[in-house]
Symmetry: C3
Subunit: 364 residues, 3 copies
Amino acid sequence: MLTDDVPLTDHHCHGVVAGDLDLPHFEELLSEGPRGTFESSIGLAVRRWCAPVLDLPPHTEADDYLARRAELGWREVSARLLRAAGTTRWFLDTGFGSNDLADFAALADGEVGEVVRLEQVAEEVIAEIGMPATLFEHVEAALRERAGHAVGLKTVVAYRCGLDFPLVHTSPAAPEPRLTDPDMLGTLVGLGARLGAELGLPLQFHTGFGDTDLRLARADPLLLTDFLRSTADTGLTVVLLHCWPFHRNAAYLAHAYPHVLIDVGLAIPYVGHRSSAVLAETLELAPFRSLCYSSDGYGLPELHYLGAKLWRRGLGLLLDEWLAADAITVADAERLVAAVAHGNAQHHYPPLPHHRPTSGTHSG
Amino acid sequence: MLTDDVPLTDHHCHGVVAGDLDLPHFEELLSEGPRGTFESSIGLAVRRWCAPVLDLPPHTEADDYLARRAELGWREVSARLLRAAGTTRWFLDTGFGSNDLADFAALADGEVGEVVRLEQVAEEVIAEIGMPATLFEHVEAALRERAGHAVGLKTVVAYRCGLDFPLVHTSPAAPEPRLTDPDMLGTLVGLGARLGAELGLPLQFHTGFGDTDLRLARADPLLLTDFLRSTADTGLTVVLLHCWPFHRNAAYLAHAYPHVLIDVGLAIPYVGHRSSAVLAETLELAPFRSLCYSSDGYGLPELHYLGAKLWRRGLGLLLDEWLAADAITVADAERLVAAVAHGNAQHHYPPLPHHRPTSGTHSG
Amino acid sequence: MLTDDVPLTDHHCHGVVAGDLDLPHFEELLSEGPRGTFESSIGLAVRRWCAPVLDLPPHTEADDYLARRAELGWREVSARLLRAAGTTRWFLDTGFGSNDLADFAALADGEVGEVVRLEQVAEEVIAEIGMPATLFEHVEAALRERAGHAVGLKTVVAYRCGLDFPLVHTSPAAPEPRLTDPDMLGTLVGLGARLGAELGLPLQFHTGFGDTDLRLARADPLLLTDFLRSTADTGLTVVLLHCWPFHRNAAYLAHAYPHVLIDVGLAIPYVGHRSSAVLAETLELAPFRSLCYSSDGYGLPELHYLGAKLWRRGLGLLLDEWLAADAITVADAERLVAAVAHGNAQHHYPPLPHHRPTSGTHSG
């Protein structure tokens, strides 16, 4: 398969849980909801594809899989799965969960870059200084400092007030521990867009499905249309993450707005055997220059591995079909694979500043 | 095919027309709109799959099909088609159309349970007593009585004010023959949710496509997000019916909210040869524990039969493909089939109270 | 393939650029956005399918393709591609771009009909007489004159205020060079609907994806539900153009409302190899009587040709699969092909009034 050996840049993922997991906790992390289950497409995929990485036969039952996982220990399991992904560069969103970048780099034996989450920085500043009239000056200063060693910015405004946030600049309202005020969020995203354009850092948006903290209808990337128009000529690169089940909408935006990158990150491990179909729908309209790879792996290194494995498999099957139908040449297919695997990310993200496997620890 | 012989629980359907039909009336019932046609996916499916049940060759022309139907008579036709479905338990929504449960049980040679429609009960109460301040006490009493021999509740609030009904408790407004006031409907659905949780009766929602009385955009199950959050820990089981073309949205809700069941009922007979594709999209994210089978058969026993036949065929083809791709084992596939065919319904619905084939008549 | 030789009626397209194009301008026209690219599904399709029409091998590189194009000259290129489409009747929307119908007819060696754009006529009238209280009387007069030699009407209200325009009759507001006032647009579309019903001219709506002037979420055909209800019994034929990514929503509307025709025009050339999948999704619910063919070709004759080629190929592959699965007979499949290729258009549009290849020039 054309996609077997191409090195991947995982431009959006998270750290792994530093500890062993029993079945209920493992299944919980196998879902965006509170009660995941092996009885799902992603559960089948874990048993089919991850089991062999742990020296088990394909389709090993869940209990046996968890037993072997405990036997090897989380460090060995994580190292095996992360390295089996064939990913050479990992961009970690440090806004949520454990974030020891150096340790992740050591486990994965790869380069690691940091993606800074706007809301997390703003909430840290608010926790420290409250909400003075100068709040956003302080937020900007904090963001600039964090951006100095980052490869990208990220916003989860989709979770807070939806992607149809106002395009306004506001002064602070009453303090809140968790930023949910639409005007404040609009200002924050606007600040992120300005800094991203100035510093050459792509701004990632969570779009599409996620956990129960989300109203999915408010996470349709089409709600970003006004924002995309307003940033089209500023030099900013906007990245739409995940997108499912709105991946065709996202593909349209990437088609219409050249400063838009998209991925179907999170969806790939979750949809299992269907990864090929989801990629096919995305490539209907998305220019090949606009699609990136990511796993959105979080907590379980299985997710990082499945993201890579099912992306390779899904895109590989798709291109096999296109080749068999004489819809593309091998040379063009190879070019497409390289662009999506790492080329497009390389083109839009800055070079990795540090966090080589041997560098010091950073906790975001 | 793995799905050929599994017994089905049809957890949402309706009665059949007790009489013979000419071509225009048959085609009318072959559509959610006012003018159905054999020249459609469902029309092809009737000719392909139902004709042999009536001893005709596959693909028999519409006129010949109707002639044979008349020759056999509606009772014989209904008995043949209902029995050919391989469905052993039928849950009939008695809120609309003819509802002789005992006769249906006799025709189908199966067990029959009743699903009580909230709006129908409320409108009966209003017709009788008007709209006193105590209206909802009377509605509750009527619902409790009906619920005593039912297996589930159902709401068509999607048709009345949309699935984004208010989560409020209100006092009655001015009387109306047909309940469309959003506050009243919100109160009614809230009452249904409370009774469903208390009595262990799943609450079914019409979602997705239906007849021209519907604004399809108001029937997107994502509009239920707040309702699902508010009922997540109450013990209620919420059932999203039909869902097409929002079946991926529904699958996300089933993934995120463990108290949600879904089906693609009505869509399966309508999309004909495409049933496999629709099921594949649904299973991308829906846990296998959450998917149920239904036909939503209404009027024509052809719909009950095609629901079963095309579900068997669609899921069978899908699993054949997964097996061929080594994405699932035979044992896991069999478990999935049994869960969707009847296991999940059995787990969430109460046992059938009565309405055995030989029991008395109930008219809802 | 069953679809190879059926003559097509292209019921919605535009003229071609009368001049040679360099790579940037060609790529610009290969996209609805400002920066198209050969590195996309449509780019692959141009190289695969159009190159042989210009005597080049399949998959010719973009530079070589453009060189050959320049060598042959735009007239020869256009004549070859338009004639290779196998389209015998072309309905041109003259509301945008170059519109020499007679020259197009000569190039294409086919019959040409005109589709009149409501907004263009209204804006011409406003430019001439401003906004007197009698404005819509003048607009109606102008529309009647234009309608006299037209085969259909078209509205781009999706671009102006969205498909949820108000169903009102209003008096003129302040003048504006480009009609964007929702009340005015609602009145204009209402006028178009009345004239269309009276004169037997189908009213086409742009729906679904388009250029960056569009908010895609406002172009969901489901937003037309009230309009469809209000026109269901007036004799008007409503045509939903393009529809992607809302083609399943459009299929539902065609299923529910017998006066609705749909196509997936623009989407077919853009999605390239995926045309079969998009048609399959559309045919899930759309009655075969409701689907029409169009290319929405604009600027590049490659789009007119690819519209036809990929429609033939996509529907052909789909029907091959249905035939292999015994889901349809050859006779039924041929009937379906003829209906979609030209029969449905022939049934709903008036006969071509003039604009035979040898007729005089009309500039719209």
